[in-house]
């Protein structure tokens, strides 16, 4: 790298990165970060729509060129093209063309490149979410792009289907279905359509989640006489009971190294977060700085944070350091699920069976609704 471009790169770092890297942790627990002004020049129709949505979700503000720190300029080709310029020095960061696929997919790929060039982070614009949709009677699991586009109904059981969870790195889900009359856990390969029942014991079988290394399942079963936390191999074999409380456990999630499970227990009367070794041992209460009624934990993929829902009349999203500490209220809503960037969260907001999915940019606190299918949506799970 020549000296001038190195200096330019350093200048970019000095002006932009604090909001994203060095200051990121502070911004989760403190003041909201500033958004980055960017201009989109020459884009129309779907490409313009997609770029604006993607960049706003990741903490950018789309503004006129005169007020922008970066400008993204369209090209003249049939496919989506983009030249990203630092408006301070007119230095181009990249100039690329995106042939192939749909306009949506081209625009998503370009916005991922902008995010990468400006922040250094891997984009999320081409990831998928799964969720539960209440269609007024039947409750089915849907899969869509992270922005709600290309929604696909994965189940048509005309029953209750709930608690979808992605198998890491695969186009496959675990979920709870009542198609057998009671809650059982199924594994569903979205590539082939093959389904199999993984847990079908009497009583409750629910909240199954796969470890990030793909080898084990954490699940809530009541076959021992109380809703307890269990762990099995990925195929359901080698089942082992981790908790033996009389009070209910719920909503297990995994640490990124697949060694620890965070979950909810009412052992001490009120819902609180606990951690336990996936191999067994004592359950330990996670300090949330005096916040009570904590449910639905989700561990960020970088291992630093646990997002959860405080359910006390209203639902509020909180974030707490993974080792415990003071929890920070982020926004109204429930059931957070982190994207792979450990920055964006998909969650549920709204009440009264008219719920919708929204995307939260944790550092800037910005919330944008996911395109909605008909029905009341909840229990989102972000593929990662």
């Amino acid at each position: 790298m020549k000296l001038p471009s190195l200096l330019q790169a350093m200048a970019i770092c000095a002006t932009v990165l604090p909001a994203f890297a060095a200051g990121f942790d502070a911004e989760i627990s403190g003041q909201a970060a500033k958004s980055i002004p960017i201009a989109l020049t020459g884009y129309t129709g779907e490409a313009a729509q997609v770029l604006k949505f993607d960049l706003e979700v990741l903490g950018f503000d789309v503004v006129p060129a005169a007020k922008a720190q970066f400008e993204l300029k369209a090209g003249s080709g049939a496919e989506v093209q983009g030249t990203l310029v630092d408006t301070g020095n007119q230095h181009p960061l990249f100039a690329r063309s995106y042939p192939g696929g749909s306009v949506r997919s081209q625009a998503h790929t370009l916005s991922d490149d902008v995010v990468k060039a400006v922040t250094g982070n891997t984009g999320i614009a081409r990831t998928k979410i799964a969720y539960k949709a209440d269609l007024g009677g039947a409750k089915e699991v849907y899969v869509s792009d992270y922005d709600g586009a290309n929604a696909f109904r994965a189940t048509e059981d005309r029953s209750i289907t709930a608690s979808p969870a992605w198998v890491p790195g695969r186009l496959a889900l675990l979920y709870t279905s009542y198609k057998g009359g009671k809650p059982d856990v199924y594994s569903h390969d979205l590539g082939t359509g093959a389904r199999s029942r993984v847990f079908g014991f009497n009583g409750l079988n629910t909240s199954a989640t796969v470890s990030p290394d793909g080898t084990r399942i954490a699940v809530v079963l009541s076959k021992s006489g109380s809703p307890d936390l269990w762990v099995s191999n990925i195929d359901g074999t080698g089942l082992r009971q981790l908790t033996t409380t009389k009070e209910p456990e719920s909503s297990p999630c995994w640490s990124p190294d697949s060694k620890t499970i965070c979950f909810v227990s009412n052992r001490d009367g009120k819902a609180a977060l606990y951690t336990i070794s996936a191999g067994g041992g004592e359950m330990r209460k996670l300090s949330t700085g005096g916040i009570l009624n904590c449910t639905e934990p989700d561990w960020s993929p970088d291992g630093k944070w646990i997002a959860f829902t405080r359910a006390a009349g209203e639902f509020t999203l909180y974030v707490v350091p993974a080792g415990g500490g003071d929890a920070t209220a982020i926004t109204a809503g429930e059931d957070p699920s982190w994207a792979r960037n450990s920055r964006t969260i998909v969650f549920t907001r709204g009440r009264d069976r008219a719920r919708r999915l929204s995307l939260l940019d944790v550092p800037t606190r910005r919330v944008k609704d996911v395109n909605r299918i008909s029905g009341s949506c909840s229990q989102p799970s972000w593929a990662r």
């Binding site: 409750k139 696909f152 109904r153 994965a154 189940t155 048509e156 005309r158 029953s159 608690s163 186009l171 009542y178 198609k179 057998g180 009359g181 009671k182 809650p183 199924y186 569903h188 390969d189 979205l190 590539g191 082939t192 359509g193 093959a194 389904r195 199999s196 029942r197 079908g200 014991f201 009497n202 009583g203 409750l204 629910t206 909240s207 809530v220 009541s222 076959k223 021992s224 006489g225 109380s226 809703p227 269990w230 074999t237 089942l239 082992r240 009971q241 033996t244 009070e247 209910p248 719920s250 909503s251 909810v264 067994g280 449910t295 639905e296 359910a311 009349g313 429930e334 009264d352 069976r353």
Partner: protein, 220 residues
């Protein structure tokens, strides 16, 4: 699905069933061997082809009940009611097998709960006692207890809480002398509200346990 795949799946689920019987034994609890509910076939439905496949039409029993016979017959373990808190494993067979569902008989016996609680209120004890008496005089019948919540908790929290409510009712029945092997539980969380309203009047009706009597066809 070809035969080999099918055999493989059945073998896999057989391993699931065996493995599950070997779970580590927690203290004060007597696990039930072979507790897997149902055979492999009902749970493993498959459709083929296409890029992204739903479970639509994938096998029998959409919204229905598992009706295949199980390898394991329910049996009375002779549970000591004094140890109810530690000896409440659910029965191993499917109590619904071949039974007819009767939601009317105990319609007036629905048990209601306090917000975020699974303990039985004293006002509800007589309703459970009446169910226990009926079961004692109808030896062929068994019972499903459905647990439900209001919408104020989060969804999976409610699913576990509703199961705990159903289990509290079941424990009470066992304490009153009903065999534990005759009562199963079904947790619905907030997914089947009795009242669609969004106030305390509706919520108080939704925090409930319902009794579904399961009777052999010949008695109906």
């Amino acid at each position: 699905m070809n035969c080999l795949t099918k055999l493989g799946l059945i073998a896999l689920l057989a391993v699931v069933a065996i493995g599950s019987g070997c779970a580590k034994k927690p203290k004060n609890i007597t696990p039930i061997p072979n507790g897997y509910n149902g055979s492999a076939a009902p749970g493993s439905d498959v459709s083929q082809g296409g890029a992204l496949r739903g479970g639509a039409g994938a096998g029998p029993g959409n919204g229905g009940r598992f009706t295949q016979p199980t390898d394991t017959a329910p049996r009375d373990l002779g549970v000591d009611p004094s140890k109810a808190a530690g000896s409440n494993e659910l029965p191993s067979g499917n109590l619904r097998d071949g039974k007819i569902e009767d939601r009317e008989t105990f319609k007036g016996n629905t048990v209601y709960f306090e917000y975020d609680k699974s303990s039985i209120k004293s006002s509800e004890l007589a309703k459970i006692a009446a169910v226990a008496e009926h079961l004692k005089s109808h030896a062929d019948a068994s019972l499903a207890v459905e647990g439900h919540c209001d919408e104020r908790g989060t969804e999976e929290y409610n699913r576990s809480l509703s199961e705990r409510r159903a289990l509290s009712i079941r424990e009470r029945l066992v304490n009153l002398g009903v065999s534990a092997s005759r009562v199963t539980t079904e947790a619905f969380g907030e997914d089947k509200p009795a009242d669609l309203g969004h106030d305390e009047s509706a919520w108080s009706k939704n925090r409930r346990g319902e009794f579904i009597l399961l009777v052999p066809p010949s008695l109906k």
